[in-house]
C-alpha cells in the first residue's frame, strides 16, 4: 500500500505532463498548419513587382457614385472612375467642363452606384463598355473601357431608384435597369398612391435612351437576362405595394418577374404601349401576347442570377433560407408557374446572391450566417440531400458575391469575391466609420480556401471581373490627338467676342504653351489645353488659383474649361500632376485686369 501511496502522485504528474505535452504538441501542430495555410494563401495572391494581375475587378463605389478598379488576385486598388460625382483629381465634372454639362444635364452631382455590368459579345465580355446604375437619381452611365472614362449618362424616365442593372446576352441588345421604388410613373411629382408603378427599363446600349419599359407589379430589385436573350428577369418584392416595412413583408410570397423580350418588342410594334416620359411603356395586362410572367417565390427575394448554362434563374431568398431555382425552359410552357420551379434548396440564413463556377456549382452569400455556401445545382435539382458541398465564414455579412466571369457563359471557376457589408474588427480602427471588407476566396478545389481580404471605401455593392488579357490590349494609354488638338507652337489667345476670350495652350514637360495671358475682369474665358506628350502616364494638370478649376489632361487628350474671370489680379496656373524635375516650374499667369487698369493701359 505504501508503494501505491508513493507512486500515485508520481503517476498523476506523469499523466498530466504527458497531457500538456500532447496538447502543446497539437497546438503547435495546428499553429504550424495555420502558418502553412497563410503562406499558401499569400503565395496565391502575390503578384511580383512589375507583374500584372489576372483580372480587372470593377466594384461599384456605392455612395461615392464611382466605379473602383482593383487587380485580382492581389486586391490592389488600381484606380477609381468618377461617374456620378465630380472629381477634381481627374478634372471630372468641374464646372465649365463638358463632363460637368453631361452630369448636370442628367441630374444631381451625386449618385449611388450599385451594379456594374460589362458589355458582351457572343455571351462573353467584350471589353467595350461598363454600365453602372445610380439608384438615388434613377440614372445609368456607360463607361468607355478604352479610356476608363464615363462616356454617357442618362436618366431613366418614369421610374424611381434605378437598381438592378444587367445586359441582355449574347450581344448586349439592351441594358436592363430596374425601377425599384413605387412612384407615379410620369414623374409628375404626384402623391397618388394608387398610381404608383415600378418596372423594368430596356435601354439602347450606346445612347442609353430608354427604348421601352415594362410595368411590373411590385418593387423590381435585382435583374439578369437569359443567355439566349429571350428573357429578362427581376426579383420582385413588395408585390403587396406596401409603403412600410410591415406592409412590404405582409404576404408570404413575392415573385420573380420574367419578361418575354420578343413579346414585349412585338407589343411595341403593335402599338400596345402608352407614351410616357418620352418613352414607350408597356402595361403587361393590356397586351395581346403575354409579356410578363410572375413566378411565385418566398417573400422578399433578393438576388436574381441566371446559371451559365442558361437553364435556371435563381432567386436568393433573403428572408427565406432557400434559393429558388426556376427552369427557364418551362416558364412559357407550364399552366401553373409553380411547376417551373426546379428546386428550392435550403442553403442557410439570409441568402442574398448566387454565383457560379461553371462546374455545376453555385455559391450563395448568406448575409445572416456570414458565410458563403457552395452547393451543387444538379444534386439540388435531383433531390439529393447532400447538395451542400462546403461553407466558408466571411467577415462579415456578405451582400453580393461574384465568381470570376460568373455572369458569362464561361465562368473561370478560380476566384470568388465576397463583398461584405461590415468589417467590424477586420481592419485597424479609423474612427466610427469603417471601410467595407472584400474577401477573395479560391474556389478551384472542392473546398473553398480564404486567400485575402482588402478594404474599400463605402460601399461596393457588386463586382464584375474581366480578364486582363481580354481588356488590357484595348486600353488606350496615349491617345491620337483629335481634330480639336492644338499643335505644337500654336498656343495663343484669341478675342472671340466683346467680352470673351479663348486661350489655346499646349502642355508638355515642363511648360504650358503660354507663360501668361491677359483678360479683363468679367470676361468669359475658355481655356483649351492639349497634352502633346507621346509617352504613357504623362498626365498634366491645370489648376487655376482661386478659381476652383483643376483639369487632368492625359497624353494626346484635349480638355477645355469655361469660366468668368471675375477675380482681378494675378492668378497662377500650374501643373497638378507631378510630371518632371521641372514640375514646380511648370506654370504661368492669368492676368485679370480691372476696368481701371485697362484705362491706364490705353
Amino acid at each position: 500500500m505504501s508503494n501505491v501511496r508513493v507512486h500515485r502522485p508520481f503517476l498523476s504528474a506523469v499523466v498530466i505532463a504527458a497531457a500538456f505535452a500532447a496538447i502543446g504538441s497539437l497546438s503547435a501542430c495546428r499553429g504550424s498548419h495555420q502558418q502553412d495555410a497563410n503562406a499558401d494563401a499569400a503565395r496565391s495572391v502575390y503578384v511580383p513587382v512589375g507583374k500584372w494581375d489576372k483580372y480587372y475587378a470593377f466594384l461599384s463605389g456605392g455612395q461615392a457614385g464611382t466605379v473602383l478598379v482593383y487587380g485580382i488576385p492581389s486586391g490592389r486598388l488600381i484606380r477609381s472612375i468618377p461617374v456620378f460625382e465630380p472629381r477634381a483629381q481627374y478634372g471630372y465634372a468641374i464646372p465649365g467642363t463638358k463632363t460637368y454639362e453631361m452630369l448636370k444635364a442628367s441630374g444631381p452631382l451625386w449618385g449611388d452606384s450599385h451594379h456594374p455590368a460589362l458589355s458582351e459579345t457572343n455571351g462573353d465580355y467584350d471589353g467595350r463598355w461598363l454600365y453602372i446604375n445610380d439608384k438615388a437619381n434613377t440614372r445609368v452611365a456607360r463607361i468607355d473601357l478604352k479610356r476608363f472614362e464615363t462616356a454617357a449618362i442618362a436618366t431613366i424616365p418614369n421610374f424611381q431608384a434605378a437598381h438592378g442593372t444587367s445586359v441582355v446576352p449574347p450581344d448586349t441588345k439592351y441594358v436592363i435597369v430596374n425601377g425599384e421604388f413605387l412612384a407615379e410613373p410620369d414623374k409628375s411629382h404626384g402623391v397618388d398612391v394608387a398610381a404608383y408603378k415600378a418596372g423594368m427599363a430596356f435601354l439602347d446600349p450606346i445612347t442609353l435612351q430608354t427604348r421601352f419599359e415594362v410595368l411590373v407589379p411590385g418593387n423590381c430589385d435585382i435583374n439578369d437576362a437569359s443567355k439566349d436573350g429571350r428573357w429578362a428577369f427581376s426579383t420582385d418584392y413588395d408585390t403587396e405595394k406596401g409603403l412600410s416595412v410591415e406592409d412590404m413583408i405582409r404576404n408570404d410570397e413575392d415573385a420573380i418577374a420574367a419578361i418575354d423580350i420578343p413579346a414585349a418588342e412585338e407589343a411595341i410594334s403593335k402599338g400596345e404601349f402608352t407614351s410616357m416620359g418620352g418613352t414607350k411603356v408597356i402595361d403587361p395586362t393590356r397586351t395581346t401576347k403575354k409579356v410578363l410572367y410572375m413566378i411565385p417565390v418566398p417573400k422578399n427575394p433578393h438576388g436574381c442570377d441566371v446559371s451559365p448554362d442558361g437553364k435556371y434563374v435563381a432567386a436568393s431568398g433573403k428572408l427565406s433560407p432557400t434559393v429558388t431555382l426556376i427552369d427557364i425552359s418551362k416558364i412559357d410552357k407550364v399552366k401553373n408557374l409553380r411547376d417551373a420551379i426546379a428546386a428550392q434548396p435550403e442553403v442557410g440564413m439570409g441568402p442574398l446572391h448566387t454565383t457560379w463556377d461553371g462546374r455545376g456549382n453555385a455559391y450563395t452569400s448568406l448575409f445572416i450566417d456570414s458565410q458563403i455556401v457552395k452547393w451543387n445545382v444538379a444534386r439540388a435539382v435531383a433531390g439529393d440531400p447532400n447538395y451542400v458541398i462546403d461553407r466558408m465564414d466571411v467577415h462579415y455579412n456578405p451582400g453580393h458575391t461574384y465568381a470570376a466571369l460568373g455572369r458569362t457563359r464561361h465562368p473561370s471557376g478560380d476566384y470568388l469575391l465576397a463583398l461584405n457589408k461590415l468589417s467590424k474588427d477586420m481592419f485597424i480602427p479609423v474612427g466610427p466609420s469603417m471601410p467595407e471588407s472584400q474577401e477573395l476566396i479560391d474556389i478551384s478545389g472542392d473546398k473553398m480556401r480564404m486567400l485575402l481580404d482588402f478594404p474599400a471605401e463605402p460601399e461596393p455593392h457588386d463586382a464584375a471581373f474581366i480578364r486582363v488579357s481580354d481588356l488590357a490590349p484595348k486600353v488606350a494609354q496615349v491617345e491620337q490627338p483629335g481634330p480639336d488638338a492644338i499643335a505644337e507652337g500654336k498656343s495663343r489667345i484669341e478675342q472671340v467676342g466683346p467680352h470673351e476670350y479663348h486661350v489655346y495652350m499646349t502642355v508638355i514637360r515642363s511648360k504650358f504653351g503660354l507663360d501668361a495671358f491677359t483678360v479683363h475682369q468679367g470676361d468669359k474665358v475658355t481655356i483649351t489645353l492639349s497634352n502633346i506628350e507621346t509617352v504613357k502616364d504623362m498626365t498634366h494638370g491645370f489648376a487655376l488659383e482661386d478659381y476652383g478649376i483643376n483639369l487632368a489632361i492625359d497624353p494626346g487628350q484635349t480638355r477645355e474649361v469655361t469660366f468668368i474671370a471675375d477675380k482681378p489680379g494675378t492668378h497662377w496656373y500650374y501643373c497638378t500632376w507631378f510630371c518632371s524635375a521641372l514640375h514646380l516650374e511648370m506654370r504661368g499667369r492669368m492676368l485679370v485686369e480691372t476696368a481701371g487698369q485697362q484705362e491706364a493701359h490705353r
Binding site: I508, R509, E533, T534, V535, K536, A581, L582
Partner: protein, 211 residues
C-alpha cells in the same frame, strides 16, 4: 574555252552589280543606324528608339526633345548629311547601273572608281556620324541639370547617360550599304582577275578568276 568563261564572268559581274543596285535602292527605305535608350521608366515597348534613314530621322523625337531639356545636347536632326545620304545613294545607284552597260575594258576601271568612292563615302559617313555624336555630347546649349558630363556616344556600342543606357548599332540600311560595297569589291576583283589566256595546261585553271 575562254569565250564562254569571259561571258560567264561578265554575267556574274552584271548580276553582282544588279544586286548592288537593288540593295542601293532598298537603302533609301531602310534605317541605316539607330540608337535605343533604356531606363527603368523606359523599357520594353517604352524604350526610346531613334532611327536614322537616308534623308530623315524617325522615332519618338518629341520625347527625346522633351528629355533633352535636362541635358541640352545638340540634336543633329537637320544635319545636311542626312539629305546628302539620299543624294549619295542616288548617285551610287546611277553609277552602278551605268557600270552594268559599260564595255568590259572601261567597266573594270569604272568599277575601281565606284568601289573607291563608295568605300571612302562609307568611311566618311561613319566618321561624320562619330563627329556628330561627339558634337551632340559636347556642344550643349541649355543643360539645366547637373551631374551629366560631356560625352560621346559610340557609333556602335553602348554607354550610360544620365539615367539611360544608350545602345547604338548599324541597322539594315547600313548593312545593306556594306553589302553593296562588298558586291562592288567582288565585281572589281572578278574583272581584274580576268587574265589573258594562258598556255593550256590540262586540269589547271585559276579557281578565283573568270577564265
Amino acid at each position: 574555252m575562254n569565250a564562254p568563261s569571259q561571258a560567264s564572268c561578265a554575267g556574274t559581274v552584271k548580276l553582282l552589280l544588279i544586286a548592288a543596285a537593288a540593295l542601293l535602292l532598298a537603302c533609301n527605305f531602310l534605317p541605316v543606324w539607330s540608337t535605343a535608350m533604356e531606363s527603368p521608366q523606359y523599357h520594353g515597348e517604352d524604350t526610346i528608339v531613334v532611327k536614322v534613314y537616308p534623308g530623315r530621322v524617325e522615332g519618338n523625337l518629341r520625347e527625346v526633345e522633351t528629355l533633352n531639356q535636362y541635358i541640352g545636347v545638340k540634336l543633329p536632326l537637320d544635319a545636311p548629311e542626312l539629305k546628302g545620304m539620299t543624294y549619295a545613294m542616288a548617285a551610287f545607284l546611277v553609277l552602278v547601273i551605268g557600270a552594268v552597260f559599260l564595255p568590259p575594258a572601261i567597266q573594270k576601271h569604272a568599277l575601281v572608281g565606284i568601289f573607291a568612292l563608295m568605300t571612302i563615302s562609307g568611311a566618311a559617313g561613319l566618321g561624320l556620324l562619330q563627329y556628330r555624336l561627339y558634337e551632340l555630347g559636347h556642344v550643349r546649349t541649355r543643360a539645366i541639370i547637373g551631374g551629366v558630363a560631356n560625352f560621346t556616344p559610340p557609333v556602335v556600342g553602348s554607354m550610360h547617360l544620365a539615367n539611360f543606357h544608350v545602345y547604338t548599332r548599324l541597322m539594315s540600311g547600313g548593312w545593306a550599304f556594306a553589302a553593296v560595297v562588298l558586291l562592288t569589291g567582288i565585281a572589281v576583283y572578278l574583272t581584274h582577275h580576268d587574265a589573258p589566256p594562258m598556255p593550256s595546261v590540262p586540269g589547271r585553271h585559276h579557281a578565283a578568276s573568270c577564265q
